[in-house]
Amino acid sequence: MNELHKKTAKRPNIAVEIAGIKLRNPVMPASGTFGYGEEYAPFLDLEKIGAIVTKGLSLKPKAGNATPRIAETTSGMLNAIGLQNVGIDAFIEHKMPFLRTVNTPVIANFFGNTLEEYGEVAKRLNDIPEIAAGELNISCPNVKQGGIVFGTDPKAASEVVTLVRKNLQKPLIVKLTPNVTDITVVARAVEEAGADAIACINTLTGMSVDIHTRKPRIANRTGGLSGPAIRPVAVRMVHQVVQTVSVPVIGVGGIMCAMDALEFLIVGAQAVQVGTANFVDPAAMLTIIDGIEAFCIDEGIGDIGELIGSLRV
């Protein structure tokens, strides 16, 4: 498409709605790759992205895992950060004042070590009117308690979602782990328990060894694999989940460019999250948004809704 065509073409509508939250476009960061938003403010206009998703929040501050915590692998990275975060109180006191100044929906990712803690954090989120939704993390592979323990067992997942659904007076997104035999079983369980939307996938558990020291390359031994290496797995799982549930699905996993994001939209994701790409290019989400818009113009798509779930099989 030439420049003139681009300027004269009618801009497509790429706004989407997820569980009642209106997003100006379907692109948001994946939790844990974007800090609390402020870290990236020098590099991109936060009012151009669809939403801001915070680092996972817990009731009390969490120090995270021992180091080294990250290692690059072929087309990916392993991490075992261990959900280091400032805790919900410090988040409200120190991080919200900045987020309030940004005219973009803020989604608070959160987790607990126990069922009760999950419930408590959910309640605390009700105190923050500017939080548009909660994203429940039952999928972190790097901590002993909480996270994945709830995400790999459909019964436990159902239990925690039921409690959080009761306590949280906001739309609830549940983020699923790919580290299960059949993701559709957990997806169905969390939908039945009241999830308003599902985000998938979190990282795939992986391991890498330094052959000279013969030690694992990260202190936690295993970590979560992210980056372009996992994208085909993520697209497959999003496809499966979309076929299974009727709530909206947010596609996550290895998105580096607009073409990657479009794959997720075509299989039926209503929105996408961008993670590792933020580390490589802090303005990656803006390039992806522009690319989605350009693709719609090229393909003569007036509304992104025409594209979502348009997979031909």
Partner: protein
Amino acid sequence: MKNYHTKIISNQEISPGYFRMKVLAPDFGEKAHAGQFVMFRVQRSLPPLLRRPFGVFQTGFLPADCDGLPSKEFVEIVYKVVGSGTSIMAELHEGDKVELLGPLGNGFDTTTGPGEKILVGGGIGLVPLYMLAGELIANGCNVRLLMGGRTRDDIFAVTEFERLGVETHISTDDGSLGEEGLVTLVLERKLQKYPAAEVFSCGPMPMLSAVNDICTAHQTPLQVSLEESMACGVGACLGCVVKGAGHTEENPSYLCSCKVGPVFKSQYLDWSALKRNDDTLPGSEENCGGCS
């Protein structure tokens, strides 16, 4: 700080395995302090996926062209080829497009007043000490630089340091240049002679740890620049943390080396943890992020 979409001005091997690279970076210098770093994107395709962190050697302006246009501002890094990313960098040429994020992190505190300053640099650890020496000399300090390396190949930029007015002292493990032996032995001697000196250091962890032991014994203030694996460089991924002084299981303290560091006053670090972790960081870029 910003993400520069820019071009390489020059990329030259100055010693076996060591390269100096100048990159166009308008307005970089006025924001940069000694000890800060950049995240360098090697190429747009994969691999490598992540950027590599490099200490800033210097900033400056190219000589003006005859075209009457303002002279171009650059940032210069020095890197050692240790892995896939730096191997690709070594093949880059003038005019090649690169991306560079910076200046990042907290640099050296040079406001500690005039007097004797001893800089201890090992190999690629010499990089951040050049801007530091310049700032200290501008502040009226007497600056002595102890340069250490395995062999003469690890020693570079000696004349440039001397031109700043720095007294240099070279030691190599094999005696191929300067005094034979460890740079830390020279530090011992210098501290006997200048007991009121302040020490600044960057280099491999065994050297830093020995420098810390000596400075602790002499009650000498010490600032160190650390290199850790990092993914983002801006405090978001929390992958580059180091344990702070007083860290315990019950009361943990993790400091982000990209944001709180990479330069730390030594008393704020948990040195026993740094030493323990060191043997998990082998000399390959795939693990260490690429400064060395």
